[in-house]
């Protein structure tokens, strides 16, 4: 019941990846990356339910927290701020 959902989310990731590759400027590409982040976290939660492995959900929490740091670094690079 959960694996088709994960396949569907994989298709959504494919659609967002097209924006990551095509996007005319760097900001548009980050929007694609940010969407992929959320979709990957959700598919990790769904796959954790599919495999019935409780400990797998720790990976999803780590990812939800740390992909945010990546986004902030690239956003700060684009706005030409001082690190």
């Amino acid at each position: 019941m959960w694996l088709p959902v994960a396949v569907f989310l994989g298709v959504c990731i494919l659609i967002c990846l097209v924006r990551l590759i095509l996007g005319p400027k760097a900001p548009s590409r980050i929007v694609g990356l940010d969407t992929i982040n959320t979709l990957v976290v959700v598919s990790m939660v769904v796959l954790g339910a599919a495999f019935e492995q409780v400990i797998f959900l720790d990976v999803a929490i780590v990812y939800a927290l740390l992909s945010f740091v990546t986004t902030l670094y690239i956003a700060k690079y684009i706005e030409k701020g001082k690190f």
Partner: protein, 118 residues
């Protein structure tokens, strides 16, 4: 119980798909952020809620200190992280884009353009 889970899955999948398609339908970064942030957050809430409801349904047979209750709690923590981080990263991206000089396409008004001091 099962029908609620299936309904939530369908709603979540639909909004995630709309969010991904919205990335291609809109003309500039700000409107794309509208589609990406709102729809994927809403869809994630429903999908994770479906996982949580299904695992709560097994509490009665397996008891409170079973692995299933841990699954519910950790899915809830992941959901809280998504809901907290998603709008903030959208704000950071929009701010960076405006500072790097991306104009909103087809804008009727832009108050920020005149008010920039730096």
């Amino acid at each position: 119980m099962n029908s609620i889970v299936y309904t939530f899955i369908v709603i979540g999948c639909f909004f995630n798909l709309v969010g991904s398609i919205g990335l291609h339908r809109f003309p500039d970064i700000y409107t794309r952020l509208h589609a990406a942030t709102k729809c994927t957050t809403f869809g994630s809430i429903f999908l994770v809620a479906a996982v949580m409801i299904q695992s709560v349904g097994t509490w009665g047979t397996e008891g409170m200190s079973s692995p299933q209750s841990v699954l519910t709690l950790h899915a809830f923590i992941a959901l809280v992280c998504i809901v907290l981080t998603n709008p903030t990263s959208a704000h950071a991206i929009a701010r960076a884009a405006h500072r790097s000089g991306v104009k909103p396409a087809r804008a009727v008004v832009d108050d920020l353009e005149g008010d920039r001091h730096d």
